[in-house]
Amino acid sequence: MVLDLFKKFTTLWIILVVLAFFPIFTSTFDLPFWNDVVMRIMLLGMAAMGLNIVFGFGGMVSFGHAAFMGVGAYCAGISQYYGLDNGWYQLLMSAVSCGILGIMIGFLALRTSGIYFIMITLAFAQMLYFFFVSLEQFGGDDGLIMDRSDFIFIDLYEPLRLYYLIFFILAAVSIMLMLLIRSRFGVILQAIKSNESRVEAMGLNPLKFKLTGYVISAVICGLSGCLFASWQEFVSPDIMHWTRSGDLMIIIILGGLTYVAGPLVGAIVFLLLEELLPDLLHVVFPSIAENWMIIFGPLLIAVVLFGKGGLMGVVGNRFTRPAARKDQ
């Protein structure tokens, strides 16, 4: 079975191996800045992988998953504010909080569908956003400056400790997703995306599976947010701004939404563009180097219009098959 996973998810394994050895590359060429970029890639990639459980595999367009990142981040920030520095505890708390919140929001939101579902998930995210803005004690709008959490046995202030902590959690999430997507549960989730009324007619209650998927994805986003707080050494409502929910969707679509590795590929491309487009523009049009979004926006539209299946789809060209089956 392990061998099978290697064969089926080649791209994801290659990315994980590259990420594992990346710090060797940066230290050889003395590019510590890029470790930072890659940590961001891993964190956003992880959150997008979580979102993709509902978005790509379950066909539910949730426009509010940044809220779970925010809740995860505030679990770390607020715990530390009250002196609970233990990062493992904070991760647990993020998972539990996002799980409970995921059940509540998912249960209410999944009563609707289509555009209404998109909007109600956005509404819940906005609600949480303003909730944290209102918490003056924790900085309100301005946020909360914090230290990296204290992961017992791992001192995050030692070089590369944070990098590998993020990496191992990302790897764990990846392996879990590879299994989940091919499992009975994963197959049913993809079947619901394909044709909900047939699944129902087969005696399966779609809501149960959609809600479970929603909760799992919320928890993964929460873990990402919790680590994000340590990476940023700062928490503010900004982490859960609605545009970040948009970013997560962009990342998924860029990479390819029917692939487990898609969101990670998307995160790599998205953040590299964010880093490199200004430099590139600086060479061509120095006056608008800061305004790289002027290129990125139309690029996004072009991807939607012409690049069905994302980058993974372009390479793999097997868009329509369920992820549970195809090699990726």
Binding site: F55, V61, F63, L108, R111, T112, G114, I115, Y116, I118, M119, I120, L122, A123, F124, Q126, M127, F130, F131, V133, S134, L135, E136, Q137, G140, D141, W242, T243, G246, M249, I250, I253, L257, I288, N291, M293, I294, F296, G297, P298, L299, L300, I301, V303, V304, L305
Partner: protein
């Protein structure tokens, strides 16, 4: 004293609500008839505000600025539909979300390049800067009254158009049943483009009018977009009447809450805590309202018949 303040806030809420309605009126039809998730509608507001502000500054004439900006927003909407939007109608919602998200990024950045990141400030002419006593001892700015009146006039116009004209009947048919529009043999392409451009114009008009009251800056449309989406969902996608009622409701809840909640909180909280928590909770209340409506009426308060 408090009563005066309350009355003033209610008027402010009305003004905000009317503005939201102007933005939501077109958007609800775009969502309802075309089943199209259009997130860049806030950019239309921004384009309208910038067009009016720039022309006002250049010509030093407020009225000319508005008059010239109206056709500009119409043309912008028309071109946008023709260039990009029409290729996206048949796509699924997530594609539409992403492509129009890309449009937001583009427009904000284009404005930033063209006009710089700082806000543009314009003033309305002195003839509009006076006050009217809406009640004895309760002065209220003429300009805001004017916004309310213009907005109501537009609302009436949109209502008459949708309920009384032949094209309006098609629009209603389309909102309750998108397939029917095609079945009626209506030239759907033209109808869509017209609705789109008209919607852009009303959104632009909202931007022009609130320009002098707020700051005209890149990204100014997005908070309004989110609020008008809330309005549309509460009112029922595709229902102009629903959008009107929901817009007034949201405008009042948001504006009045923003002033009243901090005052309420100050009775049992420290002043600074109340000043932070109050407005944020007022913003939250809008979304709570929407969630409550959706939980009990998953298709909004006034879903178009047959939907």
């Amino acid at each position: 004293m408090t009563l005066t303040l309350l009355l003033e806030q209610i008027f402010n809420g009305l003004q905000a609500g009317i503005t939201l309605f102007l933005i939501a009126a077109g958007l609800t039809l775009i969502l309802g008839i075309m089943d199209f998730v259009f997130l860049a509608h806030g950019s239309q507001v921004m384009i309208g505000a910038y067009a009016a502000a720039a022309i006002t500054i250049a010509t030093n004439n407020f009225y000319f600025g508005i008059l010239a900006a109206i056709p500009i927003t119409f043309v912008c909407g028309y071109l946008l539909e023709w260039l990009i939007i029409r290729h996206l109608y048949r796509r699924d919602h997530m594609d539409q979300v992403l492509a129009t998200f890309g449009l937001i990024l583009f427009f904000n950045e284009a404005i930033r390049i063209g006009f710089g990141p700082a806000a543009l400030f314009t003033n309305f002419p002195s003839s509009l800067s006076g006050f009217i006593e809406i009640l004895p001892d309760t002065p209220y700015p003429v300009y805001r009254i004017l916004i309310i009146l213009v907005g109501l006039l537009c609302a009436l116009g949109i209502h008459l158009f949708v309920s009384r004209t032949r094209v309006g009947a098609m629009v209603r048919a389309g909102a309750s049943n998108p397939e029917m529009t095609a079945a009626l043999g209506i030239n759907v392409k033209i109808l869509f483009r017209f609705i789109f451009a008209a919607g852009a114009t009303f959104a632009g008009l909202a931007g022009m009018m609130i320009g002098p009251l707020t700051s005209v800056e890149p990204g100014m449309g997005e908070p309004l977009l989110i609020l008008s989406l809330v309005v549309i969902i509460i009112g029922g996608i595709g229902s102009v009447r629903g959008a009107f009622i929901a817009a007034i409701l949201i405008g009042l809840v948001d504006t009045v809450g923003r002033v009243m909640l901090p005052m309420l909180f100050k009775t049992f909280m420290s002043v600074s805590t109340a000043d932070t928590a109050g407005p944020a909770l007022a913003s939250m209340s809008v979304y709570i309202l929407m969630a409550v409506v959706l939980v009990f009426k998953p298709t909004g308060l006034f879903p178009p018949k047959g939907a």
